[in-house]
């Protein structure tokens, strides 16, 4: 294992930000720390970077304890939510910074800077001032800057949160490709599950300072460990497994779990109807309970039959 976190606890005075967290990241693996804001995931990331000292527990790299290694000797790259580019340097100056710290000679450095700018899709931006860049471009430069000195591990703290939605989705895909191509070992902090699932090989769900579940995205998505996690992952209705024909005690339903279908086995009455971009969202009463459902046109008051879409169902536990 490349990175190993061994029962890390971080306390500020009386508050415990991170509580007894253990996690490992294998060489070349991308792990996402996913959780609502304030769950301690950023603190954990900063602890790995060496910007916070754990109250107890240890951060190890290839079995070596990093407690005595200061931030600048860890060789962990860090990308902030809002870039934090050096305003007094050009794009190239920013990207070259880590290489200069490593005393890489000029020719190699220049070449590396150009290839990284190409990698993040910013060819020809070398001499621009960073203050003239858009938010998305700034994040790309921040990423190139972090990757340039070939860090052992890249830490990304909500790398896309400051961007608007369309750009975020595009960049998430680009970022996933970049991390794979460079075979980067990375730890990503995010509160957006789409982002986590796009980027990561494994997802660690954090809640109130603890890691409650770790696993591949598909597994975490389909079997959240408890109701709270399921709610965070988009489930808004909880029913016995028998309701959807599954042999588990409880399942969580997402908005897409029920679909209007004339062959469906469940019957209900449409209570409310909302038009979305590419589908209609319905509120359907079944045996006095209201459920969300996706469907074609239907009027309020209509009797409809519903089919279960297992992609929208999460087994709890």
């Amino acid at each position: 294992m490349a990175l190993e976190l061994d029962s890390i606890t971080v306390r500020y005075g009386r508050t415990t930000a991170v509580s007894d967290v253990s996690l490992s990241v294998a060489d070349g693996e991308v792990v996402a720390l996913l959780g609502p804001s304030g769950c301690g995931k950023s603190t954990l990331l900063r602890t790995v970077a060496g910007l916070e000292k754990p109250t107890s527990g240890s951060v190890r790299w290839d079995a070596t304890d990093l407690a005595g290694v200061p931030v600048h000797r860890r060789e962990f790259g860090l990308v902030f939510q809002d870039g934090q580019l050096f305003p007094h340097r050009t794009v190239a100056g920013n990207v070259a910074f880590g290489l200069r710290m490593k005393k890489v000679e000029r020719e190699t450095r220049d070449k590396r800077v150009l290839s990284l700018l190409e990698l993040v899709g910013l060819e020809g931006y070398a001499d621009r001032r960073v203050t003239q860049l858009s938010g998305g471009e700034q994040q790309r430069v921040a990423l190139a800057r972090a990757l340039a000195p070939s860090p052992r591990l890249v830490l990304l703290d909500e790398p896309l949160s400051a961007l608007d939605r369309a750009l975020r989705e595009q960049l998430a895909v680009d970022l996933a490709r970049l991390l794979r191509e460079a075979a980067t070992t990375a730890l990503v902090v995010t509160h957006d599950h789409d982002e986590a699932f796009t980027l990561a090989d494994r997802v660690a769900i954090m809640s109130r300072g603890r890691i409650v579940q770790v696993g591949p995205p598909a597994e975490v998505w389909s079997s959240p460990v408890d109701v709270e996690t399921a709610k965070f992952l988009g489930c808004n209705k909880f029913v016995p497994g028998s309701f959807v024909g599954l042999d588990v005690e409880r399942v969580g339903l997402r908005a897409t779990a029920l679909r209007v279908d004339s062959d469906g086995l469940i019957e209900g009455t449409v209570v409310e109807r909302v038009h979305r971009r590419d589908h209609v969202r319905l509120l359907v009463a079944i045996d006095g309970e209201e459920y969300e459902a996706v469907g074609p046109m239907a009027e309020v008051g209509d009797r409809v039959r519903l089919e279960i879409d297992l992609d929208g169902v999460a087994r709890i536990g």
């Binding site: 970077a49 910007l51 000292k53 754990p54 109250t55 107890s56 407690a67 200061p70 931030v71 600048h72 000797r73 860890r74 060789e75 962990f76 790259g77 860090l78 902030f80 934090q84 050096f86 305003p87 007094h88 910074f97 880590g98 710290m101 490593k102 800057r145 972090a146 000195p149 860090p151 830490l155």
Partner: protein, 539 residues
């Protein structure tokens, strides 16, 4: 368990590190400020008579006059500074550069020069010229401190009040003024401090009739050798200064937390309607600020026999019948050199202190407030006391420091350091901590982070602080008048000496020397203005 303890200790290590670093500026203060001042005070206490001085009704008359004139000066400075603050912060009009320079120049003019400038209008001195001269100095403090905040306060709160039916004056009184209150309070505290300890102006304009604590301390130590009396007065002054400093720190803290700040660019616009009256008032203040300066230049060129350059020519001599030990030109060169050394010392101590203060605050050490206030103390303690303290303590340092050519620069550096701290600190604080962290994760050691991130970002304000410190050192009079050796006086000392001797040539030469000093000062200020450093420096 042992491991947990070790790590808990590591968590404290940055705080401990910064606290250790804070010891350096504190040691500087202890050696070159606290020790001399305490030596003077204890000297006074030992001789007894402090109680009798405190019981003396003359003492309290002196205190009343000192505080009264300081209060009056502060009121005048605030009233005159407000329209200027408005124009600097909110108006997009022509001649703004001129306004800015005209406001800044008086603040850095040597006190002796200002005293003489006002004497060209009130040859016999008096209370009014003392108050006006003190205010003249400090209009800049009000205009820049209040203007700095005003320039970044959201105009929309005012617009909202207007939309809710408040008249323009009403909106100003109920929305704008409360928002500016912390800056006004902080500026007023500093102005009050400067006025209460002002020395050169009162000495030149008050003569023996109007005396403040500061000039009385000087007179008692130098002319009456009444050390215990002087010590008692120093103690009184110290208590007052400390109180004002604490109030100022409180006001500053509120200002740092409570405001939604915006860029000046989107707030400045052409004045409309009634705002032109404010602009008019501001320009009236500018004219009033320039009048003494013009008067001084005129006076330096006019003699009983009409216009003449005699005073300037005389700068190359030792004055009428050898009043001075060196020529005016020699003194000028010595001034420049001394101020350079002082600035260098103050820059090193000041910048180091600012860095430590930022580090301490960041690591959450309470100690930060203590260091911050301690660094401001030399501004308010009688420079005369400090100067005299040097004379009785510095011989204890290796190599008889009293005769060292570094003595005067060190005393001046003590006065300049707080100003440098106040100018550099806000800029350093404004640097996002995560920018430093980004550099660290890219492999930059703490020293390298400072060089690669902090230094380039504060560079311009550093140069401005250096220039500013240089002119203040150039004009320093209180401590220098005590410490400068007769064979190596600075220009302000020479001016005071020339004025105290009879002979038209002497006073002519003094006025010429004033103009010379003023030219150098104005040159420095214009240079700083060209650097266009954000005007939000705190004083």
């Amino acid at each position: 368990m042992g491991r947990a303890v070790a790590q808990a200790r590591a968590g404290l290590s940055s705080r401990t590190g910064w606290s250790a670093a804070a010891l350096l500026p504190l040691a500087f203060l202890a050696l070159f400020f606290a020790w001399p001042v305490l030596a003077i005070v204890s000297l006074g206490l030992r001789e007894g008579g402090v109680l009798s001085a405190l019981a003396d009704s003359d003492t309290w008359e002196l205190v009343c006059f000192t505080l009264g004139q300081a209060l009056a000066s502060t009121v005048v400075a605030v009233l005159a500074g407000m329209p200027l603050a408005f124009v600097l912060a909110r108006c997009r009009i022509r001649g703004l550069g001129l306004v800015r320079a005209a406001v800044m120049v008086p603040f850095v003019l040597p006190t002796v020069v200002v005293g003489l400038a006002f004497r060209t209008f009130w040859p016999d001195g008096g209370v009014l010229p003392i108050v006006l001269a003190n205010a003249f100095f400090n209009v800049a403090v009000v205009a820049r401190t209040v203007g700095g905040l005003w320039a970044h306060t959201d105009r929309r709160a005012e617009d909202a009040a207007r939309a809710l039916g408040a008249s323009r004056p009403r909106a100003f009184l109920s929305v704008v003024l409360p928002a500016l209150a912390p800056a006004i309070g902080s500026a007023a505290a500093v102005v009050f401090l400067f006025c209460a300890t002002s020395f050169g102006v009162v000495l030149v304009l008050g003569g023996s009739r109007y005396r403040t604590l500061e000039t009385e301390i000087y007179l008692r130590t130098v002319e009456l050798f009444d050390l215990s009396g002087a010590a008692a007065l120093s103690l009184l002054q110290f208590a007052a200064v400390l109180a004002v400093l604490v109030l100022g720190a409180l006001a500053r803290r509120r200002r740092e937390t409570a405001l939604a700040l915006r860029d000046r660019e989107e707030l400045a616009r052409r004045p409309t309607g009634g705002e032109w009256y404010v602009v008019l008032a501001a320009f009236a203040v500018v004219v009033a600020l320039l009048t003494p300066v013009v008067g001084l230049v005129t006076r330096s060129l006019s003699t009983r026999d009409g216009w003449s350059l005699a005073g300037y020519v005389a700068l190359n001599t030792r004055g009428d019948r050898g009043t001075l030990a060196v020529t005016g030109v020699d003194a000028a060169v010595n001034s420049l050199r001394t101020a350079f050394d002082a600035t260098l010392v103050a820059l090193v101590v000041g910048v180091f202190s600012a860095v430590v203060l930022v580090g301490l605050r960041r690591s959450g050490a309470r100690f930060a407030e203590v260091l911050d206030t301690a660094l401001m103390l030399p501004l308010g303690v009688s420079a005369v006391t400090v100067g005299f303290g040097y004379l009785i303590t510095m011989d204890a340092l290796p190599g008889d420091f009293r005769t060292s050519p570094m003595l005067v620069p060190l005393a001046q550096a003590l006065v300049v350091t707080p100003l440098i701290v106040r100018m550099v600190l806000p800029v350093l604080r404004a640097v996002d901590e995560r920018l430093r962290q980004a550099a660290a994760t890219l492999g930059a050691s703490p020293a390298r982070v400072w060089r690669e991130v902090d230094l380039p970002l504060v560079g311009r304000s550093l140069v401005a602080a250096a220039g500013f410190g240089y002119v203040v050192a150039l004009g320093e009079f209180g401590a220098t008048s005590f410490l400068a050796r007769p064979d190596a006086p600075t220009l302000p000392v020479v001016i005071a000496r020339l004025m105290s001797r009879p002979g038209e040539l002497n006073s002519q030469m003094a006025y010429a020397a004033c103009v010379l000093l003023m030219v150098v000062t104005v040159g420095c200020v214009l240079l700083i203005e060209r650097l266009r450093v954000p005007s939000s420096g705190e004083f």
